[in-house]
Symmetry: C2
Subunit: 115 residues, 2 copies
Amino acid sequence: MKSIRITARCPIRTTLELVGGKWKLLILFQLVETPLRLSEMKKKIPDISEKMLIQELKTLVESGLAVRQNFGEVPPRVEYSLTEMGRAVLPLIEEMRNFAGRYEENLLKQRTTGT
Amino acid sequence: MKSIRITARCPIRTTLELVGGKWKLLILFQLVETPLRLSEMKKKIPDISEKMLIQELKTLVESGLAVRQNFGEVPPRVEYSLTEMGRAVLPLIEEMRNFAGRYEENLLKQRTTGT
DNA sequence: TAGGGTACTAACCTTTTTGTATGTATGAAA
DNA sequence: TTTCATACATACAAAAAGGTTAGTACCCTA
């Protein structure tokens, strides 16, 4: 375990910049299995606003984690998918699942123990 | 790889609630090696404001990731350390380091390739 | 008696993030 | 000619996050 020096630019901060915030990880995660259109994503993340979805997708594309493919049809058809780098967030999400799991397990334990 | 259903409460959201935001992970990370006093943490994370530091520490304690030990001395001496659950963020941080590393590697590659 | 060190509070303000509501372009189909 | 579907833009409002400043309490030391 090497030490991370907290400076203007450290791995934690870099990652937070790329995928921090309320929506980015949720969006990326939806794209893991298959590319999706906007309308499809809206269904998968029901409580996101259209504006946020578009806005976040744009930054994800800009930072190279997602790709936008415009089919040039009418009505518009646009598909979003993950880049190779975008796929690299999967282990991160796995760890979050792990962590959340342990956390809730722990809560439960404390309740039954009466702590 | 089981699928995560995006609902009001999913692992991603749970984790974001616990350690999301600009400071929580940075703070937790400082406590990995040793308990620290407020004044020591301020030195380690120079650009955090005192208010944020105290505020975030309080929520970390409330959510059971950190502990506050008051030595009851004058002038005040208080130490913060990680709980067992607090330590469980380490793999997460490790993954962030991984991710950020890959990301920057990738950027570099693209520059030298002229992409 | 004044000043120092430490953890913390509270009031207030600024910035960032998120949300809502409405509008635009396009060509096909009714 | 009107309507529809889709992706997206834009203006504005609300809420959340973050920052600044000025306190407080305590006992010790000068």
